[in-house]
Symmetry: C2
Subunit: 449 residues, 2 copies
């Protein structure tokens, strides 16, 4: 028997509490602000979120018990695997003391970590007597996760899918429909916002901002309908912490402590998921693990944005939050990691980057696809374009350690698979992927290092 | 903590030997025959297969050690999970003593059990100094598996993809290319067969028979190129036995013995994989497990075919084998489970069905999609259309047991996922799937029970 590849956590050791990093921040978060610039009241949130979610959004509890029915559904696909990427290490030609491990969140049917928050969000909404959730989706991972969880827990799901994605990504639409969701090509005639947009431009291809507005409008107007968001907010980061809690136990099984934990970062929830429990572990004096967020150079919120109050959506309809932002009217170029095309970032992640507790780096998408292809061919996993950013970060860390002659244990989060992103791989394979550099404002037609 | 869902076999307990059912058949198989009707010599096989594979094809060893380098790659995704389908049981409204378990073979990047044989086939070919393998693919699962394994083990792979599939399934083509394979739209001008076909019909949409002929022609003409087949043959069934060997250990962990083991059956290798080790267990007096093959009513080889010698391909270029067959010139209707559209069947599976050791049943594809959707929404796995046949079989067994008031433990093989089959789900969702009945020769426009 050769060396071990996978560190499988027994089902009975799956964590039963989430970690809430809010209590451990160096400085408390500024509150969300209403349109008049005053701290938002919980009542305003209760119009579209259930009481348990609103409570978690502001919770001062360090640990929050995961409800039993949520555990039951999480156990259909969790604990998720954590593997040492021995074949990938070999393909990169790394020395023995530079090791790469990865946590894989793509094994549930929706194909990404988003299921981890879709399930509790539906649970809390059902508990509050809600019969339907609205949400928006662009790239489709979040809409897929909420649809899947909705089908498991008998909650009606209405997804407002940005028109251009609806047209270009039929597989995502079919996936959501197969799990029973109603998918609307946004803008629709169902809402005031949608009708206004269509009156101005009957051929509108939509935007995430419009889709959010449509979903929120319906939720706010109907007492038995709520709205659901798949990233950014505090309760989402709380739900994702199960990733890091499991990883800590699995790395203990592997007998090594990670020197660095890496995740891609768009809204920030998968980084929060694997990173925040390691931040606590560092506070507790048990580790020196660094935490690294990897974002696209085309949309480098943490590395090139301002830290200030801004709206969560393009149209400026949501409350303002304190975060890194490129400006809510910034439209990121059309990179293939659609889930990382977000002008802002999780307030919790932003606060920890601001405090120097989390590092951030930005990468070109062609370098991400390069790294993803080496990884895919070695480890037999096809990564989502979003997740490929974490792989590029891991490669950079590994090469830096090898060049410096240092040992390093690297852990990254493989947040989802790329089976529904093959059109992007086709363009990469053909050499047709352009790149974008926010800093210089240029479009790069060629592959860059 | 509630009841257990998943039975995870530790990596160090992964079986290290394959089971070879050839030594345990009630009657020995008739040998393959050459075009003149004489038993085929091993030399004829050595023109396109490596020595270890030819030896396994006729082996009289009950167990065959899995080579260390093959174990190393299998361990990147094995042991595969075995789960109790508690949410599915609930969705079906089953009594407590009717239990459903499933083994999931879709976690490797290629998405199906086919990787289990792709890896050793490449290993044995590399050992024999072969630098390139040719193969054919229709639905694409086999081509994907061989491409993935080729990229992991540095073997060049040339896939002859049936032209109509090449045009209709671009994602499968991109997937294979992403893993480094060269994908040819067959018929090509690279072979004599291809050129002849194109001369007659420049717009030919190809066929599996033509693609096989092209792949074999190239392998036979080049000493450093071999041919690789993903199902039907004895060595493939041997390689797949790891599924059942693992399942036996995992069902022991679950503390129950299956009353029935179910798999879909096209060429027969995934049924062989989960079923043959249970057949041995029955011979050894350790169980009474029944084994059930589920095939499409549109192509019911085992339930409506003849048991006789026939060619393995449509064109009649391969050796003849003793098996159930609908006739090598039978063209199955275009059902969505492309992997089950095969006129013949594995000689080993055929012999055991003939001897009454394995049962067979046939199902309509609409009933399969019905079962798959209930399963998907409950268990959060989107099954391949092929695998949905096993689910339909499990539902039939479960309902029969519940109606009879009997307890029953059912285990089925979920051989692959359906992420690249969403176009089929779209047609099902829209009610556009027609059905076919081989027995009556009719096309059924409507959903049938």
């Amino acid at each position: 028997m050769s060396e071990q590849y996978r560190f499988v956590l027994p089902e009975k050791e799956m964590p039963t509490a989430w970690y809430n990093v809010q209590v451990d921040l160096p400085e408390q978060l500024g509150p969300p602000l209403d349109p008049a610039g005053n701290p938002l009241s919980p009542e305003a949130l209760l119009a579209i979120f259930p009481p348990d979610i609103v409570e978690q959004e502001m919770s001062r509890e360090r640990y929050i018990d995961i409800p039993g029915p949520v555990l039951d559904i999480l156990r259909t696909y969790r604990p998720s695997p954590l593997s040492r990427a021995r074949m990938f290490e070999k393909a990169l030609g790394l020395p023995d003391d530079v090791q790469i491990y990865y946590k894989y969140e793509g094994i549930n049917a929706s194909g990404s970590h988003k299921a981890n928050t879709a399930i509790p969000q539906i649970y809390y909404n059902k508990k509050a007597g809600i019969s339907k959730l609205t949400t928006e989706t662009g790239a489709g991972q979040w809409g897929s996760a909420l649809s899947m969880a909705g089908s498991q827990m008998n909650m009606d799901i209405d997804v407002f899918m940005v028109a251009i994605s609806y047209d270009q990504k039929p597989y995502r639409r079919i996936f959501m429909e197969s799990f029973g969701a109603k998918v609307h090509r946004s803008p629709t005639t169902l809402t005031e916002v949608g009708r206004r947009v269509l009156a101005e431009d009957p051929d509108s291809l939509g935007s995430l901002g419009i889709a959010i507005s449509e979903a929120v409008e319906i939720a706010a107007a109907n007492p038995d309908i709520n709205y659901s968001l798949g990233s950014v907010l505090n309760h989402v980061c709380i739900h994702q912490s199960i990733i890091g809690e499991e990883a800590i136990l699995q790395m203990e099984m592997a007998g090594v402590e990670p020197d660095v934990v890496i995740a891609c970062c768009g809204g920030g929830s998968n980084l929060a998921g694997i990173g925040f429990p390691y931040y606590r572990r560092r506070l507790d004096g048990k580790t020196n693990t660094r935490i690294v967020a990897v974002e696209p150079k085309a949309c480098p919120t943490l590395t090139a944005g301002d830290y200030r109050y801004d709206f969560g959506d393009e149209a400026g309809l949501t409350p303002q939050m304190q975060m890194y932002t490129l400006g809510h009217d910034f439209i990121p170029p059309g990179i293939h990691a659609g889930g990382l095309r977000y002008h802002g970032d999780s307030p919790l992640v932003s606060a920890l980057v601001r405090a120097g507790e989390i590092e951030a780096m930005s990468v070109y998408q062609n370098d991400c696809f390069d790294a993803a292809m080496i990884f895919a061919r070695a480890e037999a996993h096809l990564p989502a374009p979003e997740s490929s950013h974490a792989i590029a970060g891991a490669v950079a860390e590994a090469k830096a350690a090898a060049e410096a002659g240092e040992s390093r244990v690297i852990l990254f989060n493989l947040s989802g698979h790329g089976f529904l992103d093959l059109a992007s791989y086709d363009r990469y394979n053909k050499g047709d992927l352009v790149d974008y550099d926010f800093a210089s404002g240029t479009v790069l037609g060629e592959h860059t290092e």
